[in-house]
């Protein structure tokens, strides 16, 4: 039965149910234990499962990421909380060279079923070291799967799939979404990795949006509908491997594509989707596709500057209007 | 059995080498692991050990040959007392190596 709960509760419920189902699942990271994690993602889990399975660690990102690899190779299913995507840089070798590659280079003799959880994106003046959205680095690493849910329902269904997957999964939690509420079934359920969802149907233009950008795009679509513009919003949910088929179907219907994402423009997820669509459905495109991203700069601290560099619903709407007015 | 000794590759960037000196003469007995020759690579002068025990039956390349591509035959080591047809041994080697 579905109830209306917060994103963070849905995420926690997914982890709790997997830990109840599978004794090999455990969580490790700085503060995941009695403290319940930086954003309270694991609140109450330590009381239920104990400190053996809610393992507080030192702030040793490399060791957290690396021990998760070793434990996963031995049949455990660790969820390693790296807290902020920005901190994952300290663990990049273990994530991209070890977790991502060991199954491959061992010719399938070992598998590395683990989840690296990290919060991502803008919130409030977190500035240069706590506002990162550089998931395209992980997308660009064969062997990693990358997940970025935009609703409480997806948060739960995707964490369950991520835990059950036999490959390492980067599970991104957008900080602006933690308190968003939505309907979530109480029983465990898995949303398959690699399956997008059409969050709103439309006929004039396809927006492919990720994370917090999905909500921004839906708000923009609502406003645009009043102007007679019908926007379809697709959330890939899994950024790698992404659901190319759903995107192509939509673009073949609308003939127009705008990618909205919080990462940077160059070699980003949006550029990838545009390249994919151009390669596979050029004949369906009525106008040149565009992307709206965070501006190519270090994220500034002061709110006026910070707001200036990120997408918002008004900018999404403006980008849609501009695209539709452009030369066909 | 006769074994062909080639200009060895010693280092990932090496494409050719020069013989600096043979430490053995034709007809000398050779032990596997003994220094057989020294070569000049793109990076350094290195001593090269024999890969086989036997007799240095034929030297095919000397310092006068200058640069020799890696894996080109430069000598033949045969069993003691074995008589060999140099051309035949090299031919067989090339056909086996697909060169």
């Amino acid at each position: 039965m579905a109830r209306r709960i917060r994103f963070i509760e849905a995420l926690r419920e997914g982890m709790r149910q997997e830990m109840e189902r599978d004794p090999s699942v455990f969580i490790m990271g700085e503060g995941v234990g009695p403290h319940g994690s930086a954003f309270k993602q694991t609140d109450g889990l330590c009381a239920q499962f104990g400190e053996e399975r809610l393992r507080d660690t030192p702030i040793s990102e490399l060791a957290i990421a690396g021990t998760a690899v070793g434990a996963a190779m031995m049949g455990m299913r660790p969820i390693a909380d790296l807290m902020w995507i920005d901190f994952s840089m300290l663990a990049m070798d273990q994530i991209c060279n070890q977790a991502a590659k060991l199954r491959y280079i061992s010719n399938g003799q070992v598998k590395v079923p683990l989840v690296y959880r990290m919060s991502t994106g803008k919130s409030k003046s977190n500035a240069a070291h706590h506002s990162g959205s550089f998931y395209s680095w992980f997308i660009n690493t064969p062997g990693l799967k990358v997940v970025l849910p935009s609703t409480p329902n997806d948060a739960k269904g995707l964490i369950i799939s991520a835990i059950r997957d036999d490959d390492p999964v980067i599970y991104l939690e957008h900080k602006l979404l933690f308190n968003v509420r939505g309907d979530v079934p109480e029983e465990p359920f898995a949303i398959p990795l690699g399956v997008a969802e059409v969050k709103r149907e439309g006929t004039d233009l396809t927006i492919v949006a990720t994370g917090a950008m999905v909500g921004f795009s839906l708000t923009a679509a609502e406003a645009l509908a009043k102007e007679g513009i019908s926007v379809e919003v697709i959330d890939p949910r899994t950024l790698m491997p992404y659901d190319g088929a759903t995107i192509l179907t939509s673009v073949r219907k609308t003939g127009n594509l705008l990618c909205v994402e919080e990462g940077f423009r160059y070699c980003g997820f949006g550029s990838e989707i545009i390249a994919f669509v151009v390669e596979n459905a050029m004949d369906s495109l009525r106008r040149p596709p565009r992307q709206l991203t965070t501006m190519h700069t270090t994220i500034p601290f002061s709110p006026p500057m910070e707001d200036y560099v990120f997408p918002n619903p008004e900018r999404v709407a403006a980008a849609v209007r501009a695209l539709l007015k452009s030369e066909a | 059995m006769a074994h062909v000794i080639v200009m060895p590759r010693l280092g990932q960037t090496m494409e050719a080498g020069e013989i600096v000196e043979w430490m053995k003469n034709e007809g000398d007995a050779v032990q596997k692991g003994e220094i057989l020759m020294s070569i000049q690579t793109d990076k350094a002068t290195l001593e090269v050990e024999a890969d086989y025990s036997g007799v240095l039956a034929k030297i095919l390349a000397t310092p006068e040959n200058g640069e020799i591509p890696c894996f080109e035959p430069i000598a033949i080591i045969a069993a003691p007392g074995e008589s060999i047809d140099v051309e035949q041994v090299v031919k067989e080697f090339r056909s086996k190596e697909g060169a």
């Binding site: 040793s60 690396g66 070793g70 190779m73 070890q98 | 090496m14």
Partner: protein, 318 residues
């Protein structure tokens, strides 16, 4: 240590030595498609440590890891065929010389990034502990890795969690081309254990009996829940960093001196003095190891390469 074990240690060292020398030949002749980092001269460490491990104990190793695989029980054929990039290699040609795996005997990977195997072994030990076994993980790494954050973070975490892991630092005096005395703040890397409140010992890594004894103590701690140990085994890398490295950075006379303290020669003399072995026994063991290495090399060279399309197996595609 009984006599059978004494001979077994010698056999393992000979197997490693002969396999490595065979690889040197294969490399020279173009059968190894990449750089090869050989383990000659360090055999006593792999042999002394692995002789006491059970099949279900696990290890991680380094770019110079052929010897650890052999000591843990990997057939020479599978190792050499992998280094020669063949389908019959232990990883079907996907891994190569720096990425050797055989998890069913506890070879959980030789890893090409310096230091990166240390946290992985720590995690293996974490799983062993959480699964309530008495299995033990061993991480082999070099003096270079001891200056890497992975070493320090892992020793700290393993100590905090009292994990059943043995950290074996093979100090072969060179991190690639930089001498340990130019790069390392301590005289003995074993002393660094004190920072993490775990036992640390420094032994002569060319004396297999010293390595064996240190491992025995570390294993007994690990198996009984007393946590990790750091063993520094001092040795010398008698070959260059890679085949073809002229190692111009060595000090005058260093190599000659190291060659005189050869681990196999040391152990052979010891066994002869103890009456465990005769010269002719040694010659027979050496010949046997050499024949096996030659056979493995022939097997590798005669094996097919993997099909190109196999490259995409095991990676998610769009």
């Amino acid at each position: 240590m009984d006599n059978a074990m004494k001979v077994r240690l010698l056999e393992t060292m000979l197997n490693i030595r002969k396999a490595e020398l065979q690889l040197a030949i294969l490399y020279k002749n173009g059968k190894v498609p990449c750089a090869a980092h050989l383990y000659e001269g360090q055999e006593a460490i792999a042999a002394g440590v692995c002789a006491q491990l059970r099949v279900d104990d696990c290890l991680t190793s380094t770019h110079r890891g052929h010897g650890h695989c052999i000591a843990k029980g990997m057939p020479m054929k599978e190792m050499i065929a992998e280094v020669c990039a063949r389908k019959t290699g232990c990883c079907g040609g996907k891994g190569g010389t720096m990425h050797l795996f055989k998890p069913d005997i506890g070879v959980m990977g030789t890893i090409g990034i310096v230091g990166a195997g240390i946290p992985v072994a720590t995690g293996i030990a974490l799983a062993m502990k959480m699964q309530k076994t008495d299995r033990v993980a061993v991480s082999f790494f070099g003096d270079g890795a001891a200056n890497n954050g992975a070493f320090h973070e892992s020793l700290n975490l393993a100590s905090v969690w009292k994990l059943p892991v043995i950290f074996v630092c093979e100090n072969n005096r060179y991190a690639t081309s930089v001498a340990v005395w130019r790069s390392t703040s301590v005289e003995k890397i074993g002393d660094r254990a004190a920072s993490y409140s775990i036992p640390g010992v420094t032994v002569d890594g060319n004396c297999v009996d010293e390595v064996y004894a240190a491992t025995e103590a570390a294993l007994s701690r690990a198996r009984t829940g007393q946590g990790p140990t750091l063993i520094e085994a001092v040795t010398y890398r008698v070959r260059g960093h890679y085949e073809g490295d002229d190692a111009a950075y060595r000090k005058q006379g260093e190599l000659t001196e190291a060659r005189e303290h050869d681990p196999i020669e040391y152990w052979k003399q010891k066994l002869i003095e103890d009456g465990v072995l005769r010269e002719e026994d040694f010659a027979a063991l050496a010949a046997k190891a050499e024949a096996e290495a030659e056979e493995a090399a022939a097997f590798a060279v005669d094996s097919p390469f993997p099909a190109p399309e196999e490259a995409l197996i095991l990676t998610a595609q769009i």
